[in-house]
């Protein structure tokens, strides 16, 4: 009999309540291998691939691409072999979503699959020796725990036992003993001997970098490298006239690194998400840029006069952007397909660089906050961003982004729009430059700002008006109070 398994909406992070099937990568009854990408799931913040945990195929796909489903909802039924319709129907009927213990706002759209759920799983007697998590998972998976021999003390069933019972059985394919080099005089690790043998490298006379000259894997790899370079160059496809359509595709087509000092690192899922979203943004959104110089001497003067904890220049800019967006609501938007969503408040995403990559926490309703409130919120958001503790609602949404590289001495740059937002402001450092001050030449700190706009929704005049409003606010900072 085939081993059927429910394929459900995963839960990535404590705040994830629902996800959207961006795409099914595998069709019904199409066999796939372990590790193959099965589907792309999008949340408010990220898009991730779901990989196959084992070989198998979908015997029934229940969720539609583009549909949004709560965490734990039944999306499809997996099998490692032939399965009758009756068996599949029985699993679907008996399916109950796992208790994800999410107490926040849960999606209101019920999953079509979940609505069909009926309590058919055999009830677990209260006196069964089983951990709470194991009990919940067993109930969710609808399995009978009576047949499970627990691995905990006294046969108590653990979550691991349930995981083993619900996953398809795998048979390791032993490759047999590896040939190793018979050299007995070489002081080398078994792995190093194997690598040396496989690559035809003699280890006698080699001194390794390990303790007491022991030859390790790295030593053998160092010996292999020159050989690889001497080998005939890999045949490269003639460069395609068009660029690769997506970053992941481009990455997979990349040649192996040629140099000795190239570290190859797979992209983290966060990096992949940044890559995918920004590629999509730059390729599908018609960007145009409005640039402007703004004298910042008075703003810096106001800031210098603050006693105690001073807000950063960026905090003032958040406030200025918020008020400018109120003046020019055409720029305070999100673009969704053929709709423009105009916001009644300024939710401004701030680009924060972290070790893991770019994150954009959001100051909500910045138009209603004083610069001091913004400063406090930003300090907390940035700290949480760096310690990877931002909550989902703190990074989702937003109608406008602000990216400030002034701290690095950058004079000017252009930013890529963070979809579905309509615009992003790129801010450089305030540098002393001559300006025309009522006919006199004065040298004062000047900011260079560049607004990237989505031309599908924002016209040049709207962008220019926003910049005009922004310049007025910065040049006369009393307006920021």
């Amino acid at each position: 009999m085939a081993n059927l398994k429910a394929f459900t909406m995963p839960k990535w992070g404590i705040e994830m309540a629902e996800g959207t099937i961006a795409e099914w990568a595998v069709g019904a009854n199409e066999p796939f291998k372990r590790g193959a990408v099965l589907a792309l799931v999008e949340t408010d913040k990220i898009t991730n691939e779901i990989e196959a945990e084992a070989d198998g195929r979908f015997v029934r796909i229940l969720a539609e691409a583009g549909g949004t489903y709560p965490v734990g909802a039944l999306l499809a039924v997996l099998s490692d072999g032939e399965a009758s319709d009756a068996e599949i129907d029985a699993l679907i009927a008996g399916f109950r979503p796992a208790d994800t213990s999410f107490t926040g706002e849960v999606a209101t759209t019920p999953a079509p699959a979940a609505s069909a759920a009926k309590p058919a799983a055999p009830a677990i007697p209260a006196d069964t020796k089983i951990s709470p998590v194991a009990r919940a998972e067993a109930q969710a998976a609808g399995i009978d725990v009576a047949a499970i021999a627990g691995s905990g003390r006294g046969g108590r069933i653990t979550a691991q036992d349930i995981a083993q019972a619900t996953r398809p059985q795998t048979t390791p394919a032993p490759a047999g003993p590896y040939p190793t080099t018979p050299e007995s005089d070489a002081y080398a690790s078994p792995l190093a001997r194997r690598l040396a043998h496989l690559n035809g490298i003699a280890l006698s006379g080699v001194t390794g970098t390990g303790r007491k000259g022991r030859i390790g894997k790295a030593d053998v790899l160092a010996l292999i490298k020159p050989v690889a370079e001497a080998a005939p160059p890999r045949v490269e496809a003639t460069p395609a006239p068009a660029p690769a359509v997506s970053a992941p595709a481009a990455a997979s087509a990349a040649p192996p690194p040629a140099g000795d000092h190239v570290d190859v690192m797979p992209m983290s899922s966060m990096r992949r998400t940044i890559a995918r979203r920004l590629t999509e943004s730059k390729q599908t959104i018609p960007h145009f840029y409005v640039r402007r110089r703004i004298r910042a001497d008075r703003l810096l003067g106001v800031r210098a006069a603050v006693t105690g904890q001073k807000p950063s220049v960026n905090d003032y800019l958040v406030r200025a952007c918020a008020l400018a967006l109120m003046e020019v609501p055409q720029a305070n938007i999100q673009v969704h397909g053929n709709e423009i969503h105009r916001f009644g408040q300024a939710d401004i995403a701030i680009a924060v660089a972290t070790e893991r990559g770019l994150v954009t926490p959001i100051v909500k309703a910045a138009d209603r906050l004083s610069v001091f409130d913004i400063s406090r919120q930003m300090a907390e958001l940035a700290q949480r961003a760096r310690s990877n503790r931002l909550r989902g609602e703190e990074i989702s949404g937003g109608s406008f982004s602000l990216s400030n590289l002034g701290g690095f001495g950058v004079e000017q740059f252009d930013a890529i729009i963070n979809p579905p937002q309509g615009a992003i402001l790129a801010v450089g450092a305030a540098r002393p430059e001559p300006i025309d001050d009522d006919g006199a030449i004065r040298i004062v700190p000047v900011l260079h700002v560049s607004l990237s706009c989505d031309h599908r929704a924002i016209d040049g005049a709207d962008g220019a008006r926003f910049m005009q409003a922004l310049a007025q606010l910065i040049e006369d900072p009393r307006l920021l109070d």
Partner: protein
């Protein structure tokens, strides 16, 4: 409920249990205490003050000063227990367990098993242990791992006055040898203690706090260190499941696994050196039985694999600290 410290809780429990059960005797170095001092024979009640007043009440037949010989103390306790008494032997410093190991692990721990259950050995050995008092390498060790590894012994480490009473009383009602570890730095810890008969079963960990983001498992003085670390983490919105094992043998495996299955991240804190320690044992159990729940490798914060230094600064560096524990928790939380 009365508020008292651990020293007082142990003293009162001994007093109450000796009143209840005339077969209970107390023996050890200076447990009577004051011989040769101006205050008279019963003036002191042991250098730790845990046996004060017992001699005056119960007399020299039941409260016995011994020579300085741990072999004799533990051996006499084993024999007395076989003969039908309930001895409470005190080792002033647990470090000197070495000379009484045969009495412990070949005799006390095995009598009931080797005589087919026809005899029993209800001895309690009180072992005063722990570092942090600038007492150097031979008077600072946490040797509970050694006795935890010995089948046939129960190993108990109270961290609150209530647990001290409840678990000492439990030991004095049971039929098996109990190794009762008292941390010298915890004697002054105050807390509420239930009045009247009160027993705390062995093998039930204490859930000091529940948080759900990261699990901390510890025992003895490190419980307080973990609480400090958990407070710091809580300030950043990180919730800690803090488990005080209370007894390392029997071990409350379920409490640990239940928590790790939910958090997927565990920091194990142990005052003893890392090799073959209680921490290593728990890490192994978690790796074996909760492998699929782990989101990060288990992290151990322990003493160092070296004798405990005498210099205060070095001793502090040798020991786990709230900061090290907090850093470890952040490390397992950041693990990807």
């Amino acid at each position: 409920m009365a508020v008292m410290n651990i020293r007082e809780a142990i003293n009162r429990t001994l007093y109450e249990e000796m009143e209840r059960d005339p077969s209970i005797i107390v023996l050890g170095e200076d447990v009577v205490g004051g011989a040769g001092t101006a205050g008279g024979q019963e003036a002191i009640g042991g250098i730790w003050g845990t046996t004060g007043g017992l001699f005056a009440k119960f007399g020299g037949d039941r409260v016995i000063d011994t020579p300085i010989s741990e072999s004799a103390i533990v051996g006499a306790a084993a024999g007395a227990a076989l003969a039908g008494l309930r001895p409470v032997a005190e080792l002033m410093f647990a470090d000197f367990i070495g000379v009484s190991l045969d009495q412990l692990w070949n005799q006390m721990a095995k009598f009931r098993y080797m005589f087919g259950g026809k005899t029993k050995c209800p001895a309690v050995v009180r072992l005063i242990y722990g570092a942090g008092m600038n007492a150097a390498a031979q008077h600072s060790q946490s040797v509970y791992a050694l006795l935890t590894a010995m089948p046939g012994l129960k190993v108990v480490l109270p961290t609150t006055p209530a647990d001290a009473k409840g678990m000492l009383s439990e030991a004095l009602h049971g039929d098996d040898p109990v190794m009762f570890f008292e941390h010298k730095a915890l004697y002054g810890v105050k807390g509420e203690v239930p009045d009247g008969p009160f027993r705390q079963r062995f093998g039930e960990a204490r859930m000091v706090r529940e948080g759900g983001d990261v699990t901390m498992v510890t025992c003895g003085r490190m419980v307080g260190f973990c609480e400090k670390a958990a407070d710091k983490l809580a300030a950043d919105g990180i919730g800690t499941d803090l488990i005080d094992l209370r007894t390392t043998s029997p071990l409350d495996e379920e409490a640990i696994l239940d928590s790790v299955e939910q958090t997927g991240r565990i920091v194990i804190v142990d005052e003893s050196p890392p090799r073959c320690s209680v921490a290593a044992d728990i890490a192994a159990i978690v790796a074996e039985k909760a492998f699929t729940s782990l989101k990060a490798p288990p992290r151990m914060i322990t003493g160092q694999h070296s004798p405990i230094p005498f210099a205060r600064e070095l001793e502090r560096a040798w020991l786990p600290s709230p900061q090290k524990i907090e850093d470890a928790a952040r490390h397992v939380l950041a693990f990807r």
